[in-house]
Symmetry: C2
Subunit: 315 residues, 2 copies
C-alpha cells in the first residue's frame, strides 16, 4: 500500500520501494531524481562504501553475494549496485551474473540493483553515483559498488568508494600486467579468486612483486585468496575490509579521500553537463555537418573545427 508520505521521506525511512523508485528516476535522468538527491543529500555519508572491480568472469558477483551474507549475519543492512558498461550487442551478458545474487532477493535487509543503461548521452557513471548516494541516504550500512574494470586508469564510479577491492583470477594475466605497468591503479585490497586453480601461487607471487615496487603508503595492500563459490576466504576478505576502514578512519584519510572523491565528482558532473550541451547543439545544428565536410575534405583541421564549434556554441 503506497504511503502518502513524500518519496524523500519514505526513502529516508528506508522504504525499499521508495529507494527503487528513486533510483529509476536518476537512471531515467528525470529532473525529479536530481531534486530528490539534493533533498536527501544531507543524510548521506554514513554508509561504508566499497567498490569491487575486476575483469568479467573473475567472480565478483559470487564474491559479493558471500560478503553480503556475512554482513547480514553481522546484523548490517546492505545495498549492492552493479554497474554494467557492456556494449549494446551483448546486453545482458554481464547482467546474467547478477542472478548469482538472487540468494538475497527475499531478504529485506538486502537491496540489489543493476544499472546498464548507457543511454545516448553516456550518463551511466553520473547516474550510478547518484544511485549510490540514494542507497546511503536510505540508511544502508554497507553499499557495495560492483563494476567491470580491466585496466582502466580511471573508473569513475570506483572514485566514489571508501575502499577499493580488485578481484583477479588465475589465468587473467592481463590485469596483473596492467597493474604492473601502472595502467591500473593499485587498489586497497587485492583478491585472487578461484584460488583452487594451479596457477594461483604464481599469480600471488607476481602480485607481491608488483606491490613491492609500488610507492609505500601507510597501508599495506593485502592479498586475499578466495574460492567464492565455496565461500572460502570470505571471512578473511571481510576482516580486511573492516581493517581498511578502521585504518582510514584512524589516519583521517577517510575524510581526505572523500573530499577528493567529491571534488572529482563535482568537476566530472560539470564536464558532463558541458559535453551534453555541446552534443545537443551539434545534433540540432546543420552547420556542424558542414564543418565536418570541411574537415573530411582536409580544408579545415580538427582543432580549428573544434574552435569554430565552441565559438558558435557560445554565441
Amino acid at each position: 500500500m503506497p504511503s502518502d508520505k513524500p518519496l524523500a521521506q519514505r526513502l529516508l525511512d528506508g522504504d525499499r520501494r521508495a529507494l527503487a523508485r528513486a533510483i529509476s528516476l536518476v537512471e531515467d535522468d528525470d529532473p525529479a531524481g536530481w531534486e530528490l538527491v539534493r533533498e536527501v543529500y544531507p543524510h548521506t555519508g554514513r554508509a561504508a562504501v566499497v567498490g569491487v572491480t575486476g575483469a568479467p568472469g573473475a567472480g565478483k558477483s559470487t564474491l559479493i553475494g558471500k560478503v553480503v551474507a556475512n554482513r547480514r549475519a553481522a546484523g548490517r543492512s546492505v545495498a549492492v549496485l552493479s554497474i554494467d558498461p557492456s556494449s549494446p550487442f551483448t546486453h545482458g551478458a554481464l547482467l546474467g551474473d547478477r542472478i548469482r545474487l538472487t540468494d538475497h532477493f527475499l531478504d529485506p535487509g538486502v537491496f540489489i540493483r543493476s544499472m546498464a543503461n548507457r543511454g545516448a548521452l553516456g550518463g551511466l557513471s553520473e547516474a550510478s553515483l547518484q544511485a549510490a548516494l540514494l542507497m546511503d541516504a536510505a540508511g544502508r550500512d554497507d553499499v557495495l559498488l560492483e563494476t567491470v574494470g580491466v585496466g582502466q586508469a580511471e573508473i569513475d564510479i570506483i572514485d566514489h568508494a571508501d575502499t577499493v577491492v580488485l578481484v583477479l583470477m588465475p589465468g587473467g594475466g592481463d590485469s596483473v600486467q596492467a597493474l604492473k605497468a601502472g595502467i591500473m591503479e593499485i587498489p586497497d585490497i587485492i583478491v585472487v579468486n578461484k584460488a583452487d586453480h594451479p596457477m594461483t601461487q604464481t599469480m600471488v607471487r607476481e602480485i607481491r612483486g608488483v606491490l613491492s615496487l609500488a610507492p609505500q603508503g601507510d597501508w599495506k595492500v593485502p592479498i586475499v585468496q578466495t574460492e567464492a563459490t565455496e565461500g572460502t576466504g570470505v571471512e578473511q576478505l571481510v576482516e580486511q575490509l573492516l581493517t581498511h576502514r578502521a585504518h582510514i578512519e584512524e589516519q583521517g584519510t577517510l575524510a581526505e579521500r572523500r573530499r577528493n572523491n567529491l571534488r572529482n565528482e563535482v568537476i566530472a558532473l560539470a564536464t558532463t553537463k558541458l559535453r551534453r550541451s555541446l552534443e545537443a547543439r551539434v545534433c540540432s545544428d546543420p552547420a556542424f555537418e558542414g564543418l565536418i565536410d570541411d574537415v573530411v575534405a582536409r580544408r579545415l583541421d580538427p582543432a580549428s573545427a573544434a574552435h569554430a564549434l565552441l565559438d558558435d556554441t557560445r554565441s
Copy 2:
C-alpha cells in the same frame, strides 16, 4: 645543418628532424604546434593508419618491429607512434618496450616516437592525434599507432585508425573476457601472439566463439597466430592488413570510417577545451574550495555544486 625553409615546408618535404620538432611542439601544447597542424592538414589523409592495441606484455612492440621490417622491404616509409598512458610511478615501464624497435633506429625510412606525457591537463590523446596527422603530412606511407588497451570501451587514439589490430596472448584471459562481455570493441584483426604457448588453440577457439556471437558485418575478423620474436606469422598479419585496407576502400567504408573518426575527434577536442577552461577556473578560484567544503559538510549535493560551478564560470 638546419634549413632556412619554414618548419611546415621541411615537414612536408619529409625531413625527419622537422617531424620530430613538430611533434615536440604539439606534445608541449605549444600554440606553434597547433598552428603547424593547421597549416599541413590539407596534406594529410594519404597514410594508411593502423592502430595496434592490447594488454601490456602481449608483445605489441616486437610485433610492430617485425611489421615495420616487412613494410620497409616492400619499399614503404613508416612512422610508429607509441602511446604510453602508464601512471607516473612506473614511468618508463612501458617505454622500456620501445627498445625493441631499435633495430630500425638507423633507417631513415622509419620514424619512431613515444609519447608518455600525461601532463596536468590530460592532453595525451589530443597530442597523439595531432602527432599522427603530422606523420601523415610528412609523407609516411604507413602510420602505426601503438597503445595499451585492456578492455576500455573507448580508446581515443584508436579512433584515428583505419584498421584496428588487437594483440592477445595466451594466459591473457581478461582481454578475451572483456571482448566477450562487450566491454572491449571488436577490432578488425585479432592477433594471438606467443602462439608457441600450449594454451594457444584454446584461446583461438574461445575467440572464434566470441566472434560468432558478434553482429556480422561485411568483414570477417581474421585471427592471426604469430610468434613475434621469431617473426612467425608476420607475413600473414601484413596480408590481412592489406586485405582489410582493400576491403574498406572497395566498400567505401574507409571514407565513412574517417568521417566518423574526424567527427568524434572534433567533439573530443571541443570537450577537452571546455574541461580545461573549467579546470583552470577551478584552480584559480578560491570560491570553488568553499563550494567543496559545502559538499563535504553535506550542505550542498554534488550536482547542485556542479551547476553553481558552471553558472559561476559563465558569468
